[in-house]
């Protein structure tokens, strides 16, 4: 699964640590998701989309 998390985060001028704090997870988690090493669960993906004020489809693509 691919994602646009790094781009969406950069558009908001957030660091990984900023996003991690908003998500209430570790910075390593954000990095692992961004680099595609880890696919988040559905609740975390929804939370991510909500924090980025977008939809899951805008963040993750099944390609």
């Amino acid at each position: 699964m691919n994602n646009r998390l790094r781009i969406l985060r950069a558009e908001r001028n957030w660091s990984q640590a900023d996003l991690a704090q908003k998500l209430e997870v570790s910075r390593q988690s954000v990095n692992a998701i961004e680099t595609g090493k880890y696919d988040p669960s559905l609740p975390l993906a929804f939370k991510l989309a909500r924090i980025l004020n977008t939809t899951i489809e805008q963040v993750f693509t099944d390609e």
Partner: protein
């Protein structure tokens, strides 16, 4: 682990986990010495043999408690992977050393050493996992 990004709960669990390793090693050595010096028999021997398992049981309870309360799913997955890899290394060591003991007459190793191998291997695996996610 050994990471300033750890939450207070993660740091506390890690401290307890590390303490258990040290305590397990200490009790193992003490029990072996006691067995060698005093040659206990009967229920006392059984009780003495049970003592070094206490910190190991505590370690597993700490790990279970940690996994049940950890809210960061990525970290939880890494800890589970590390524990499984620790189990794998322990089993490999057990099989190799058992064969060596049976066929090459290698000196006896303390059975409890496998617990230390499990704990140390798990911690190293966790460290490697978290480092790769930096």
């Amino acid at each position: 682990m050994f990471n300033k990004n750890l939450s207070r709960f993660q740091r506390r669990s890690l401290q307890l986990f590390s303490s258990s390793i040290i305590f397990t090693a200490f009790l193992t050595m003490m029990t072996r010495t006691w067995f060698k010096d005093h040659h206990p028999t009967g229920p006392i021997a059984w009780l003495l043999a049970l003592i070094p398992t206490i910190p190991f049981i505590a370690t597993i309870i700490i790990a279970m408690r940690y996994l049940a309360r950890e809210t960061d799913e990525f970290i939880r997955t890494q800890v589970l992977l590390a524990l499984l890899q620790g189990s794998l290394i322990t089993l490999v060591c057990t099989v190799i050393y058992s064969l060596l003991q049976n066929f090459i007459k290698t000196p006896d190793a303390p059975a409890m050493a496998y617990i230390d191998i499990f704990l140390v291997a798990s911690m190293i695996a966790l460290r490697v996992h978290l480092r790769s996610a930096q």
